[in-house]
Each structure stands twice: as structure tokens, then as C-alpha cells.
């Protein structure tokens, strides 16, 4: 008789119930007493079926234990020792994935000198100062990029403007939007716009333009004055808080049609997450705030170290509890890191690649080169064609083959694999010198955070399942305010 072993899953508890996250499928199931008892017994040590039945005989009938074994085996939470769970197969898309989002770097110049910036710091991928990439995207290249997006996209296309500081090239941005509106209408496609900016150049004319074209706006900002002015400084070293704060308030007052988000870069010195969150939401009026640690080589003085990651996780959990309480009361909460993870959990995202870079998302450099994403735009080593000649399909297929999670042995035994798949290519490139590496420095962090989000998901699924409907279709999200 064959030994039953614990399989590819992660058990967690929420709202007094036991749940399982199944890594083979990214399904979330609730367990009853029998399946919980079977799984716990096998987790303690592998057992054969007869032993399991007799060990649980005082609580559960043999028939029920057999059913639970069959169900747990069927979802791969258990497996027989001689039949190990098959590893994910390297399956590539047979037809090209349509382009959904194009991130357009309209300039690689910036009026701030944030020490941690991946574009200018010691860890930069692309030589932006004296390289062959022009400092500014031309109108002609912007139009060619728009044509490229509309050629490669499905019925809906998303165009994201990026930099450098994006608004330094506002003239070309405006021209691109006018051209894209006209071309999309001619082709019967829908197009929408978003922008990431440091807010230093958000004058009234710019704000009107963004509001009029319903831009999704993300502002890079680190928090209250002492935090913001620590790294986000002008070239002369002056902090930028006093310049950006009134402009952000004006933007939020004027542009009401889409929620405006803040994007915070965490460093070793700026780890007071709750204070930053409260300032950005309550004092400034952002409806969403997302946090991410600075992408750096580990030896940089501002890199978040391993104890820093523990501190981040602890504070993330604390703030995530607020999100959970708000969600149960069907109120909006702006901690976007939780919202994004919950959406992926609810849909059962099971990623073969960590993100859409190189497939549904591409970055375009100032010269019109197409790369994995905006962080690699302009890098010859990560080039996937150019906007005029189109996507280099063989380079793209090679990229997808070489970066599939099936090729990351460390990930194959990890239960958080469906949501992480090895993590950010740019982070891996900066830390390990190759986009193919799994980001092993934050595995514990990812598992800790995923576990937190699973617990929150379980609580919401039991106490206010209606909240999760927003992830199934539009119009049901609790609105900010």
C-alpha cells in the first residue's frame, strides 16, 4: 500500500475556518473537519491509507476519510509517494499575446536626483547620459509608437507615459494623445491613458489636460516632508516636498474622474509605512497608495536589508488589517498592495511568468526601441524589436522560453509560486546580473505577505463575500470618499 504525502499546497486559517491554497491550480478551497484532519495527519508524517483510517477512527468514519483522501489527492494537496506531483510544464503561447499596455518613455531626463533611482543610480541598466538613446522622444517616434500599439493591440489599448520625468516632454505627450485619439477612432479601438510623474511640473494647464483626457495618474512620492526630502531632491539637493504638495492637492481637486494613486519607494531610512500612508491618504487626498522597496544592489546604503524586510512585513500586516476591516464593512481602503494581491487570489492567477513584461506589456525607449518593460527600455540586451519594424517574434519566444517558471528550480517547491513566479526581472537583473534568476533574497517576504493576503481573503470571503464581486466585473467596487 502506498504512502500518502503532503502535496503542493499551503494551509491557512481565517475567520475560524481552515483553508487551503492549492499551488498547482491557484485555487482556494475551504476544508471541513475530515479533510483538515487527514491533511494535518499526513503533514505530521506520511501515512498509508489504512493507518490514516485507524488513526482518525475515533472521529471520522472510514468512508468519509476515503472521500477526503480522494478529494485532496484530486486537487494535489496529497499525493502517493510513488506518484510525485508533476512539475509545471514549460508551455508557451502558441499565438502571439496581443499587446495590452505600452509604456512609452518620452524622455530619460529628470529634474530630480533621487539617489535610489534605477534609471540614474549606480545600478542603472541603460546608459542614459551619453548613450545612443536620445534624451527626448521626438513627435515622429511618438506617432510611430502609437501606430505600433494600435497595430499590436486587441480592441482595448492602454498607453502609459513614463520617463525620466514624463512631464519634461509634455509637448510630445500632448501630440501623442491627439494622434492616438484620432487613430484609435479611425480603427474602432478604445484607448486609455495613464502617466507616472513626480508632480513637480503639474501646472494648471497640465492638470486640465490630464483631467480632460481621463488620465490614470500615479504620483511618485515618498511621504511627509522629512521622508520625501530625504531622497527625492532637485539637482542642487533641495527637497521637493514644498514644490509638489500644492500641485498634488490641485490635481486631486480638479481631476475627479479616476482615482489618483501614490507610489512610494521604500528605502532603509523610510520605513514608517503607516505614517506615510496616513499622510498621503488623509492629508493629501490620494485614493490609493502602493509601496515597493527600491530596486538596488544589496550593498547600497539605501537598500532595504533583511531586517528591513521584516519591519516592512510587520507594518504591511498592520495596515493590511485595516484594509480587511474596511473591506468587511464594505468601505474603500487605499492600500493598493493588498487590493492587487486579493484580485489575483480571487481570480486564481497562476503565473508562468512573474508579470506581463515581454508579452502583454512592452516598454518603448526614446528612440523607439521596444523592450521588456519601461525599466529596460533602451537596453540593447533586453530589446524585443522597435516600433517601426515591429516585435522581434523570435527574440520574444526565446525570452518566454528562458524565463518560464518551469526553468526556476527554486520556485518549483514553493507554494507561493502561482503569484510570484520568481519576481521582478529588473530586480533579478540588478541583484543577480540576469533577468532569468529567481529573486531569492525576498522569498520569505513574499511567502509572509502572500500568507497575510490569503488570511485577509479568507476573512472577506466568509464575512463579506460581496466585496470580492468587484474583482469579477466592473462597477461594484466601494468608491473612495
Amino acid at each position: 500500500m502506498s504512502l500518502l504525502q503532503h502535496g503542493d499546497c499551503h494551509a491557512f486559517e481565517a475567520a475560524g475556518r481552515r483553508f487551503l491554497y492549492l499551488s498547482a491550480s491557484a485555487a482556494v478551497v475551504a476544508m471541513d473537519e475530515v479533510s483538515t484532519a487527514v491533511l494535518e495527519a499526513v503533514a505530521a508524517r506520511p501515512r498509508v491509507r489504512d493507518e490514516l483510517v485507524s488513526d482518525l477512527a475515533d472521529r471520522h468514519a472510514p468512508g468519509a476519510v476515503d472521500e477526503a483522501i480522494a478529494e485532496l489527492t484530486g486537487v494535489r494537496a496529497l499525493h502517493r509517494r510513488e506518484a510525485p506531483i508533476p512539475a509545471p510544464r514549460r508551455m508557451l503561447p502558441l499565438t502571439p499575446v496581443p499587446l495590452s499596455t505600452m509604456v512609452m518613455n518620452v524622455t530619460n531626463q529628470c529634474n530630480l536626483s533621487c539617489a535610489y533611482c534605477y534609471e540614474y543610480s549606480e545600478d542603472r541598466v541603460v546608459q542614459t547620459d551619453y548613450g545612443r538613446q536620445p534624451k527626448w522622444m521626438s513627435e515622429e517616434t511618438a506617432r510611430a509608437s502609437v501606430d505600433f500599439l494600435l497595430r499590436e493591440s486587441g480592441p482595448v489599448a492602454h498607453l502609459t507615459f513614463f520617463g525620466g520625468e514624463t512631464l519634461l516632454n509634455f509637448r510630445v505627450l500632448q501630440a501623442a494623445v491627439a494622434y492616438a485619439d484620432q487613430q484609435a477612432a479611425a480603427l474602432g479601438k478604445q484607448i486609455d491613458y495613464s502617466i507616472t510623474t513626480n508632480a513637480t511640473l503639474l501646472g494648471p494647464e497640465v492638470i486640465d489636460f490630464l483631467a480632460e483626457h481621463r488620465f490614470g495618474v500615479t504620483v511618485s512620492i515618498d511621504g511627509p516632508p522629512d521622508v520625501q526630502n530625504r531622497f527625492r531632491v532637485f539637482h542642487g539637493g533641495r527637497g521637493s516636498y514644498d514644490v509638489v504638495a500644492p500641485k498634488i492637492r490641485a490635481l486631486i481637486r480638479k481631476h475627479r474622474s479616476r482615482p489618483i494613486g501614490a507610489r512610494v519607494t521604500l528605502t532603509r531610512d523610510t520605513l514608517d509605512i503607516r505614517r506615510v500612508f496616513t499622510h498621503l491618504t488623509e492629508d493629501m487626498g490620494f485614493s490609493e497608495v502602493g509601496f515597493a522597496p527600491a530596486t538596488t544592489a544589496p550593498e547600497r546604503s539605501y537598500a532595504v536589508g533583511s531586517d528591513g524586510f521584516d519591519a516592512v512585513l510587520e507594518q504591511f500586516r498592520d495596515l493590511a488589517d485595516d484594509f480587511r476591516d474596511a473591506a468587511i464593512a464594505h468601505r474603500h481602503h487605499g492600500f493598493s498592495n493588498v487590493r492587487e494581491t486579493l484580485e489575483e487570489i480571487h481570480k486564481g492567477a497562476n503565473k508562468a511568468w512573474p508579470c506581463g513584461a515581454g508579452m502583454g506589456l512592452l516598454g518603448v525607449s526614446t528612440s523607439g526601441d521596444v523592450a521588456l518593460c519601461h525599466r529596460f527600455a533602451g537596453s540593447d540586451d533586453h530589446r524585443l524589436g522597435d516600433v517601426r519594424g515591429g516585435i522581434d517574434r523570435s527574440a520574444q519566444a526565446g525570452f518566454l522560453r528562458d524565463h518560464h517558471v518551469a526553468g526556476k528550480p527554486d520556485c518549483l517547491s514553493c507554494w507561493a509560486r502561482p503569484l510570484c513566479a520568481g519576481g521582478c526581472y529588473h530586480e533579478a537583473h540588478t541583484r543577480y546580473g540576469t533577468t532569468q534568476a529567481a529573486n531569492l533574497h525576498y522569498c520569505d517576504w513574499i511567502r509572509g505577505w502572500t500568507d497575510t493576503c490569503l488570511q485577509i481573503y479568507g476573512e472577506i470571503a466568509v464575512r463579506n463575500p460581496a466585496f470580492l464581486k468587484q474583482f469579477e466585473g466592473p462597477d461594484e467596487a466601494p468608491q473612495p470618499g
Binding site: 502506498s2 483553508f19 487551503l20 492549492l22 491550480s25 491557484a26 485555487a27 482556494v28 478551497v29 475551504a30 476544508m31 471541513d32 475530515v34 479533510s35 468519509a64 472521500e67 477526503a68 480522494a70 478529494e71 485532496l72 489527492t73 484530486g74 486537487v75 510513488e82 508551455m91 502558441l94 487570489i345 480571487h346 481570480k347 486564481g348 497562476n350 481573503y457 479568507g458 470571503a461 469579477e472
Partner: protein, 122 residues
């Protein structure tokens, strides 16, 4: 599923696919499901041209035109049984004299009962 209840969307889909074989009497934990068509086809559909023994009720061929097993008119398990009994082709089957005398006991008519020819686990 009775002892596990689906919570997210993926779990609902998983439950549907796991519950389906039970209705037709299959045993999901022992059946060779990987060789049969599961879910949407992985190859673009095209005309399937059976070759070889296709004039009788026995395809007798191990792969379809794409080199896989998903497009065969009969599942490969049936092929195994057929080659073993009625054909000169040597199919590797369990030892019916000593170890697995009842291997085909439940399979009275191959066209209907091929699913009952199971793997033999040592």
C-alpha cells in the same frame, strides 16, 4: 467535492472539472487522464486524418498527425488492449498469468469498457 468547498473562481472551475469524471464512473486518481483531451485543445484544430488500421474499428496508431495523443479517435488505452489481444504488435501489458490475472476481467467489450483496463501498480 464534499469535504473541500471552492472559495475563489479558480476553485469553482477546478471543482467542476474534478466532479465531471465521477458522473461517468471514472476513478480520477487512477485513470490516465493526462493522455486524454483535457480542457481546451493545445493545438489549433485542423483536419484529423487517421492512418493505418483505420478501416477496422481500431486505429492502431499511437500518435495523431501532430505527434500527440490528444487527437486520436480512440484513447490510447484502447489501443493497448487491442494490440495485446488481436494484433501481432507486441504491446507491453501486465503479466496475466501470474501477477495480474484479472487485468481485463472488467472489460467485456473494448469499445465500451476500455476505461476499465487500468494500470497495475506494483
Amino acid at each position: 467535492m464534499k469535504h473541500l468547498s471552492p472559495v475563489n473562481e479558480k476553485a469553482r472551475r477546478l471543482a467542476r472539472s474534478l466532479d465531471a469524471p465521477e458522473k461517468t464512473g471514472g476513478a480520477p486518481d487512477r485513470d490516465v487522464v493526462a493522455l486524454q483531451q483535457q480542457g481546451p485543445p493545445q493545438q489549433p484544430p485542423g483536419p484529423h486524418v487517421p492512418l493505418g488500421c483505420s478501416t477496422v474499428f481500431s486505429p492502431g496508431w499511437e500518435v495523431d498527425r501532430t505527434g500527440g495523443t490528444a487527437g486520436l479517435c480512440q484513447p490510447v488505452e484502447r489501443d493497448l488492449f487491442d494490440c495485446h489481444i488481436g494484433c501481432f504488435w507486441p504491446a507491453q501489458v501486465p503479466d496475466q498469468l501470474n501477477h495480474a490475472p484479472d487485468w481485463t476481467a472488467k472489460c467485456a467489450a473494448a469499445q465500451k469498457d476500455w476505461r476499465k483496463i487500468d494500470l497495475v501498480f506494483p
